[in-house]
Symmetry: C2
Subunit: 124 residues, 2 copies
């Protein structure tokens, strides 16, 4: 069985390279991709490849961290286009043959912190 | 050295129990807590304990996943109060003695999906 950490690194490297054939090869046939924030779901390799190929657009990505533990992994990735940056956190589980079985993506966006805690924090 | 996965489980169990002494014992003296979405930072155990004690309020939490790899870990936690649910994803690194050295928290919130991809997804 392939190492899920290495598979996740390949997933992002091939996305960055827009090598959608190699990207698809990291995915199980019946991969399930979910976005809990929008309650969207894509089922199956072809749909997930298409979603990413269209979604990624002109963004460039850089992997900040990958953490893996047996058949699970998570990545923290920075996307940038011009001056804009956004971050994605993706949870992965592996299929029996080491491909990616499930992907759960979170896209946290900036927000204004509550005033009532401004005495407890510094800003960076 | 303590297992960072076990330390993260204790961090959340003691937060749920509002046992702030035991919660503090999971943290390095010079722990660094950061929220990239608001660019807030809290330095040191006392400040991090206080921030969590005041922030957690009436919420109940449930750990969805913990993934650990050597000196790094991540958790995905669901917070609920009445009918409302929110999720947190927290990246941890360990100090040499196995306490928590850094915490990077993300709080992704729901958003409306772009219309242009509605042909590519189902909703759940």
């Amino acid at each position: 069985m392939a190492d899920i950490a290495a598979t996740v690194e390949t997933y992002w490297a091939t996305a960055q390279a827009r090598d959608w054939r190699a990207f698809g090869a990291t995915l199980a046939d019946d991969v399930r991709y979910e976005l809990p924030q929008t309650r969207e779901r894509v089922l199956g390799r072809d749909g997930v490849v298409r979603f990413n190929a269209e979604y990624l657009g002109e963004w460039s990505l850089e992997v900040e961290r990958v953490i893996a533990d047996g058949e699970q992994a998570v990545s923290w990735v920075r996307f940038s286009e011009d001056e804009e940056e956004t971050q994605a956190i993706s949870f992965f589980t592996a299929s029996a043959d080491g491909r990616i079985q499930t992907i759960t993506d979170f896209w946290p966006t900036p927000y204004e912190p509550p005033r009532e805690r401004e005495q407890m924090v510094e800003r960076f």
